[in-house]
């Protein structure tokens, strides 16, 4: 099990780092069609397309910032999380040696980067038990540039005229898009959580990035807000890389959690165009049965 699982996880990391998921690629190609010909916005999106093709062909990282390594694992009761974590940490170090991941994990107190990508809190694991017998492992590699433009608002915010309702959420989310400009490597995707406390709000906002870009929110008011924010953000003229242009965002995904009466947080995780997300279903031996994106 261990060797097979280890090999499957290295392959998951390789593919996540080197290949953009189909749902993201589709939207990127559509945005290239829409940009005005001969502009630097169009040329930026063309380079992005060349880069996607080259990374896949060479089996090398789309972006050199291979980011925070985030595993989302759904498994049945009785699944050995400790053994899984040990094997995964080993696979992360092996994938780093192979150049699928940059040496990217730094001790925050000493500044030491030991080159393994393993340490306190690295990689990140989110385990979830489910009734199904299958083990599902999803991986997001989230670069630091886009993580740094993430933001959390505590409503109301008077100067943004943001009250504790969906209009207030809309106002702070558009503010987040304008503040981000090109710094998060746009065109990007907003993962949003309305409600929760501070850490669960951020965590749930990031979890929204597991959704496919072409899915629709089953909650009608959130679906409307997602469509409206996508459309309105693309009217702002920020464009790819903040060069100006029509494509500022590729998608908006919003979830909501209950809150306490005193708090109303709106949390934003911004994902860059180099949206590295993949997932696999593993069989009992740890072999990859199928790919999720």
């Amino acid at each position: 099990m261990t060797d097979t699982l280890r090999a499957s996880l290295i392959e998951l990391i390789r593919r996540t780092s080197a290949e953009i998921p189909d749902d993201v690629q589709k939207v990127l190609l559509e945005s290239l069609e829409q940009e005005k010909k001969g502009t630097i916005a169009e040329s930026a999106l063309k380079i992005i397309q060349q880069n996607i093709e080259l990374a896949k062909k060479k089996s090398q990282p789309i972006c050199q910032d291979t980011g925070t390594v985030l595993f989302y694992v759904d498994a049945p009761a009785g699944f050995d999380q400790i053994a899984f974590q040990e094997t995964t940490r080993d696979a992360v170090t092996a994938a780093t040696k192979l150049g699928y991941l940059r040496q990217n994990s730094v001790n925050s107190l000493t500044g030491v980067n030991d080159g393994t990508n393993v340490g306190e809190g690295a990689p990140v694991f989110h385990f979830h038990q489910h009734r199904s017998p299958e083990v599902r492992v999803r991986l997001i590699l989230k670069g630091g540039g886009c993580e740094n433009v993430g933001v959390q608002y505590s409503l109301p915010i008077e100067k943004l005229k943001a009250n504790r309702n969906l209009d207030g959420c809309r106002r702070v989310l558009l503010e987040a898009v304008v503040e981000a400009q090109g710094k998060g490597c746009g065109p990007g995707v907003l993962g949003v959580c309305i409600g929760g406390d501070r850490p669960t709000g951020y965590e749930f906002s990031k979890r929204q990035l597991l959704r496919k870009l072409d899915d629709r929110n089953p909650i009608p008011e959130l679906d409307r807000l997602e469509q409206d924010l996508l459309h309105t953000s693309n009217e702002l003229g920020i464009g790819p890389m903040g060069f100006g242009g029509k494509t500022t965002l590729l998608g908006v995904k919003i979830g909501a959690l209950n809150r306490v009466p005193a708090s109303f947080f709106v949390s934003v995780s911004y994902m860059c165009w180099a949206f590295r997300r993949q997932g696999v279903v593993l069989n009992a031996e740890g072999k990859i049965e199928n790919w999720l994106y």
Binding site: S43, Q64, N113, G144
Partner: protein, 192 residues
């Protein structure tokens, strides 16, 4: 498309304008957070590194050592430049830089230093680590590898036809400021 090869003259750099697409060739040195704080705090460049009339590239590449002992650049796109804003102006002045390559733009102090000392900000495409790595034709050397770790080290690269856009020129213009102001005005109209 404008082609430029390092080292640059002040006149070449001052002839560039915001929005110009440029292909860069010659030598570039990488430097990001650790290098900028170190130089800003009075640290000396290691022997062999000269930034005079040259370029600093905000980049933490993925570089592997091959079986032949040669370095191989696996991925090398730009990192967010805004973090170097507290240090960049001083470094442009102290070390005679003519160009800074990065992504996401920089602020007023860098813009002022570009105007005063004759330097520009070249915006590379963030995330385009493979296209940009293809433009790196040779790794000449690496400095501070042990001290700062691989992503934060100073890598000396030879580049050919490295594609960038001038987004801050030496005349006080910034595409970043223009787009920010225009998008703020639009937001005020759209949000009501």
């Amino acid at each position: 498309m404008i082609h430029l090869t390092s080292p640059f003259t002040e006149a070449q750099i001052r002839s560039l304008k915001v929005g110009d697409a440029v292909e860069l060739s010659g030598v570039v040195f990488t430097g990001r957070d650790a290098v900028h704080t170190y130089l800003h705090d009075g640290g000396a460049l290691p022997p062999g590194v000269s930034l005079k009339n040259g370029i600093i590239y905000h980049c933490g590449p993925v570089v592997l050592k091959g079986d032949d002992g040669q370095w191989k650049v696996v991925a090398a796109g730009p990192t967010t430049s805004a973090r170097e804003e507290p240090y960049q102006g001083q470094i442009i002045k102290d070390f005679g830089l003519r160009g800074v390559i990065g992504k996401g733009g920089m602020g007023e102090r860098t813009l002022q230093a570009c105007r005063e000392y004759g330097c520009v900000y070249f915006h590379a495409i963030g995330g385009a680590a493979q296209v940009l790595a293809e433009c790196i034709t040779r790794v000449r050397n690496v400095y501070f590898l042990k001290e700062f770790g691989s992503p934060e080290a100073i890598w000396e690269f030879e580049v050919a036809k490295f594609p960038v856009v001038v987004t801050i020129d030496a005349h006080g213009n910034s595409l970043h400021r223009e787009v920010l102001n225009a998008s703020r005005e639009k937001l005020a109209r759209l949000a009501g």
